[in-house]
């Protein structure tokens, strides 16, 4: 009963947040001075043409009226028609979302592996130069945002040592058999590892740029929790039992030290997804973020709204999942 009420309350605040986002973005972009209709017509268009198209996209009505109509459509899954691409918004957004999700998940995997390895190395060799090196790496990783890491990676591995692709999602010369937009997953399912490898070679640089700051955060927090756990009695006990230091860290301390880091990863993952917007632009990666920047430049109001709402929905869902995961993993909450 209590759980049900908590869940309902949670869903209610989620919808309040989403409606808030919708209101903010809807009214902010309607203060735009540029006329999107004028931009899409050829130079010889008459006043009449402008008026007809304005009416077609509903831009002649009052802002409040437009909002009510738009919200009504959104609740039925209809986000309107893109002005610049002249296609329904929802299929466009859903067509690009998988590329962004694959990039974000790949980045998350890199961040967890690198961050975890750094933290474990730092704890294994604590109070030595190795730990200092880990601390310095964490400090630098945290101070520099993904945008700068991306540029540094472009200079280092795109130009000086051209090992990886620095532009696009997949080599354009390849024949694509895909029916879904989840290229990485589908290439594995089809056992087409040549395509899979090409995709990874394109994704590695942008994913690494997104991963470095998160890896530093993971490493810092996990190392701190591990060091605190290492002083607890049960860890000392297992050490006196004669277990090796590696066993003590991995099997005794790690399971208990992981929880705060897991929660943090969830929150930080939403920041990482927010970072894909500019990173996709830098690497000409055809995801949702790249499309969003084009939409803003083209003043494509329906498309901007659709993309922002989808991002906001993604963020709130991730936050919800994190809270649920926390409730499942935390023994104190599980038995409450």
């Amino acid at each position: 009963m209590k759980l049900l009420r908590a869940t309902l309350l949670r869903l209610l605040t989620m919808s309040v947040t989403l409606i808030g986002v919708a209101v903010v973005v809807f009214f902010v972009i309607r203060v735009v001075p540029g006329n999107p209709i004028a931009m899409m017509l050829p130079p010889g268009a008459t006043e009449d043409d402008v008026a007809r198209l304005t009416a077609l996209y509903g831009l002649d009505k009052s802002i409040v009226e437009q909002f009510v109509i738009w919200l009504g459509g959104v609740l039925q899954g209809d986000f309107g028609t893109s002005i610049s691409l002249r296609q329904p918004v929802m299929p466009l957004v859903l067509g690009r979302l998988p590329a962004t999700l694959e990039l974000a998940i790949f980045a998350l995997v890199i961040a967890v592996i690198v961050g975890g390895a750094l933290a474990l190395t730092g704890v294994r060799h604590r109070e030595t130069r190795t730990e200092t090196a880990v601390d310095v790496a964490n400090g630098v990783g945290l101070s520099i945002p993904d945008f700068l890491w991306a540029l540094i990676l472009i200079v280092l591995f795109g130009v000086l040592m051209p090992i990886f692709h620095i532009s696009g999602r997949i080599s354009p010369s390849l024949d694509l058999p895909f029916v879904t937009q989840f290229y990485v997953f589908e290439s594995v399912a089809r056992l087409r590892f040549d395509l899979w490898w090409d995709l990874l070679k394109h994704m590695f640089m942008p994913a690494l740029a997104l991963a470095i700051p998160l890896a530093a955060i993971i490493s810092q927090l996990l190392k701190q929790s591990l060091k605190e756990t290492m002083h607890l009695d049960y860890v000392t006990l297992s050490r006196t039992k004669g277990y090796s230091e590696n066993h003590v860290i991995l099997s005794e301390a790690l399971p208990n030290a992981m929880l705060p880091t897991l929660t943090l990863i969830g929150v930080q993952f939403t920041f990482l997804i927010g970072g894909t917007v500019i990173i996709e632009r830098l690497f000409s990666y055809e995801g949702l973020g790249n499309m969003a920047i084009d939409a803003v430049i083209n003043r494509d109001l329906p498309l901007i709204q659709g993309i922002v709402i989808v991002f906001a929905l993604l963020f709130t869902i991730i936050n919800l999942l994190v809270d649920m995961m926390y409730a499942v993993l935390n023994p104190r909450l599980r038995h409450a």
Binding site: T17, G20, I29, I144, F147, I154, G158, I273, A292, I297
Partner: protein
Amino acid sequence: MLDGRGSVKRRLGARLWLSGAWLGLMAVLALLAPWISPHDPLAQDLFAGRLPPFWVTGADPAYFLGTDSLGRDVLTRILYGARIAFSVALVAGLATALVGSLLGLLAGYMRGWVDVAISRLVEIWMAFPPVLFAILLIAVMGTGLTSIIIAIVVIDWTRFCRVVRAEAMNQSAMDYVSSAIVAGRPRRDILCREILPNVLPTIVALLTLEMGIAVIVEAILSFVNLSISTDAPTWGGMIAEGRTSIHQAWWVLAFPLGVLFLTVLSFSQFGEGLKDRFDPVLR
């Protein structure tokens, strides 16, 4: 134990000094840019396009760090770019700190419906991808320095608000605040003279971090061509130009990128260093 603390202290000191020195140097160079720059930042010389930096063969010593595709001097544009970067950092950083801290103090001290309203607003703001929000705002307001500063304040006030709110709540629960209430002092007086001075170190440390973020945001906006004018010498604009000609002239990208890297790193390390300096345990 004493030795351990000593070494921690020495490391903190070095971090604060090094980052402070770099920021000071850049600030001085930015101020003096019109007098020390070897060239005009906008002057194009199409016969001197894409000249490499001085140590590469084919370089012209008059263009110390080389030129971009339009023959503009890279060093000069970095120096003038510092003026824009530091102006944005200072003004946007202070304005963001002011707005965010004020709302955070109100939410943390007043509690009740004020807190609920402000916290709800923060939650809505956190559901926006910040870069997209920034680009959207610039598209709405038009390009220019003022628009960039406003966009940074509108997006990043939540950073101060969340931290200051939590800190104000901690301070409000302390005995010295209770005794001030018992003494019958007015609420505004308690907020300004008791709580604010204790929250101030946190705000100052956050401010330096925010200045680094402001420099990055300006660079990102220049990069997507939404900052000032495409001609203006901004670090982000130089980076954007360099990104397109990276295989022909790596220096157009590498030098502004290096300066931007060191500046952002310094702002962040300076902020972290200040935070530790204010920390009574380490002091």
